[in-house]
Homo-oligomer: 146 residues x 2
DNA sequence: ATTTATGCAAATCGTTTGCAAACCT
DNA sequence: AGGTTTGCAAACGATTTGCATAAAT
């Protein structure tokens, strides 16, 4: 997707939540878009030194709230952030390296996804649990750490 | 599995890592076993008031290291712990309520699991990533919170 | 007897928050 | 002008750690 369309989408999500699309927020979105993989807040601050740490924290919270970004919780304790699937049209899961903490995206074949979705629906019904989403992570060692 | 066999297994895992199976560790394992669902450290301390908080943290770290327990990271920031699958012979995944933070276990049909495992193997090969395990969580609202 | 584990309290570190100044509309 | 956002620095809270004592082998 073009960067302009991306920013339009984010602006619209923010407006719905009565928030403004400020320069700082636009820069965070651009950084996430250019990173192409989930990044930590520390990394965002390194990639764009013009942002205050507290603003990055606050803005990511707001962007998550309006559905523009997703926070990924891994075992090492630095949250990772990436653009939400609604903005990238790109349903995916994560490969998490348990050694260096790097997170990368991967996709499953569409028929595997639909098998899973059906199985999840059955589980939700049986457990009386309303399912809003799923999280599928593969844990192991990346090429560098193996 | 009987509690005695469980403790034997844990003792053996600990010995392999040059650790002792102390009273405190035995009590933590019993608490996890009786809880039957993933619990937070705060909950462990409530269930067994005879343990020092720092010892619970330290012992869970060691028990995780030797493969006796698993730490589950959710979005609310209290880690949950449960007995490792190696001890329970009970491969499962988690339902995580995003409102109250409660975590419960569920299982997939064996054929769904094997479809998944094959798909994961393909992903790992293509991404040059050595897969050690996976984590599948369904996020949503439990019966109480819905 | 020697090594390992415990309890307490203090330290650590990612994240959150209060407040006054800067910004957008 | 009126409300929102920002940067700074201080506060927070889950987890970790130092150290002297107690327990395990």
């Amino acid at each position: 997707m073009s960067a302009d369309l991306l920013h339009d989408d984010v602006a619209s999500l923010l407006r719905t939540g009565d928030h403004r699309y400020t320069t700082g927020r636009r820069r965070i979105i651009s950084t996430l878009n250019e990173a192409g993989a989930p990044v930590t807040i520390l990394r965002i601050l390194e990639l764009d030194t013009g942002l205050a740490q507290s603003s990055v924290y606050r803005n990511l919270a707001i962007l998550e709230e309006v559905g523009a970004v997703v926070r990924i919780v891994t075992h090492d304790d630095h949250a990772h952030y990436e653009l939400a699937e609604a903005l990238t049209d790109h349903h995916h899961h994560h490969l998490i390296c348990t050694h260096c903490g790097v997170v990368t995206d991967f996709q499953l074949a569409p028929d595997t996804e639909s098998t899973l979705d059906k199985a999840f629906a059955r589980v939700g019904k049986r457990a009386d649990f309303q399912i809003d989403g799923h999280r599928l992570d593969l844990l192991g060692s990346c090429a560098e750490c193996a």
